[in-house]
C-alpha cells in the first residue's frame, strides 16, 4: 500500500488529503509536491486531512515539521484534521501537537481560517 496525495488550493490555503501509508518511502513525494505548491501559489496556511491515512512513522513527522517551518515563514498556520489516536501519539511525542491546531473535519478547519 502506498500513499495517495490530493492537493487543493483555496485562496492562500493548501489542503492536503492523504490516503494510505506515510513512511520514508512515500515522504519524499509528499515533501516535493507540497513544498512546490506552497512556493508556487504563495500558500500561507495548510490544512492536513489525515482521515484516510492508515499508517505514519517518524519520516512522516519530518515532512510535516518541514512544511510547518515553510509556512511559518509566511506567518501561516497548520491545521490537522481527523487525526487518529496512533498518529496523535506521534505528534505528541515530537512536540508537534503543541504547534499545530487540531480539528475534526476539513470544514471546521476552513471555518477556523475564516473561509467557508
Amino acid at each position: 500500500m502506498s500513499l495517495e496525495i490530493e492537493q487543493e488550493i483555496r485562496d492562500n490555503i493548501l489542503c492536503i488529503r492523504l490516503s494510505g501509508e506515510l513512511d520514508h518511502h512515500s515522504a519524499e513525494d509528499l515533501k516535493n509536491r507540497a513544498s512546490t505548491a506552497i512556493v508556487k501559489h504563495n500558500i500561507r496556511h495548510i490544512i492536513l486531512n489525515l482521515e484516510e491515512l492508515s499508517f505514519m512513522d517518524s519520516s512522516g513527522l519530518g515532512v510535516v515539521m518541514g512544511r510547518y517551518k515553510q509556512i511559518k515563514q509566511n506567518h501561516g498556520e497548520m491545521i490537522v484534521c481527523a487525526i487518529s489516536p496512533p498518529v496523535k501519539r506521534l505528534f505528541e511525542m515530537s512536540g508537534l501537537l503543541k504547534i499545530v491546531k487540531l480539528e475534526l473535519s476539513e470544514e471546521n478547519a476552513l471555518q477556523k481560517l475564516g473561509v467557508a
Binding site: 499508517f55 512513522d57 517518524s58 519520516s59 519530518g62 515539521m65 501519539r89 506521534l90
Partner: protein
C-alpha cells in the same frame, strides 16, 4: 512455545512497508490489540528506515535482517544491518537528534522505539553495523477467558 521467523531483504525504501506488514502478520497469531500491532509496525518501520538511510546510506546492495521471536505473549525483535554503525549511541537516542536534518529527518526514531516497546538494546560498531533488540509484552488476550 517459542516460535521464530527470519527475514532478509535489500535496503530499499519500498521494502519498509513489506517489513512491517510481514512482522505484523507473524505476530497476529498472538491476537494482539490493534494498538499493539500499530506500535510494533511503527517500530519496525523506524529501525528499518534507520538501516536504509543511516546504516547503508541508501546503498541498495545492503541487506537488512529481521528476526522475530514470539513466546507466550512476548514479542522479541532483532533487526540488524552491516552498515556504517552509529558513532554515538547516546546522542542518537536523544529526542529530535538527527545527523541528517537536511533530509527532514525528525530525529524521533529512537524515542518512538523506546515509547512503543518495553525494552531496547542497541549494539553498534562503526564500520561493522548495528543490532537493535526490542522486546514487548503483549496484554493477555481475553479470548481464552470465556
Amino acid at each position: 512455545m517459542k516460535n521464530v521467523m527470519n527475514l532478509q531483504f535489500s535496503a530499499l525504501s519500498q521494502n519498509e512497508s513489506f517489513a512491517r506488514v510481514a512482522v505484523a502478520a507473524f505476530i497476529a497469531q498472538l491476537d494482539p490489540t490493534m494498538d499493539e500491532l500499530t506500535e510494533i509496525k511503527t517500530v519496525v518501520s523506524e529501525v528499518v528506515t534507520n538501516s536504509i538511510i543511516h546504516g547503508y546510506e541508501n546503498d541498495p546492495e545492503g541487506m537488512v535482517y529481521i528476526s522475530v521471536s514470539i513466546d507466550d505473549s512476548t514479542v522479541e525483535l532483532t533487526i540488524r544491518d552491516e552498515g556504517v554503525g552509529i558513532l554515538d549511541v547516546e546522542e542518537a537516542r536523544q529526542p529530535l537528534f538527527t545527523t541528517k536534518p537536511d533530509l527532514e529527518r525528525s530525529g524521533m526514531g529512537f524515542t518512538i522505539m523506546e515509547n512503543f516497546m518495553d525494552e531496547i538494546s542497541i549494539i553498534s560498531h562503526t564500520g561493522e553495523g548495528t543490532i537493535i533488540r526490542l522486546k514487548k509484552q503483549l496484554t493477555k488476550s481475553n479470548a481464552f477467558c470465556n
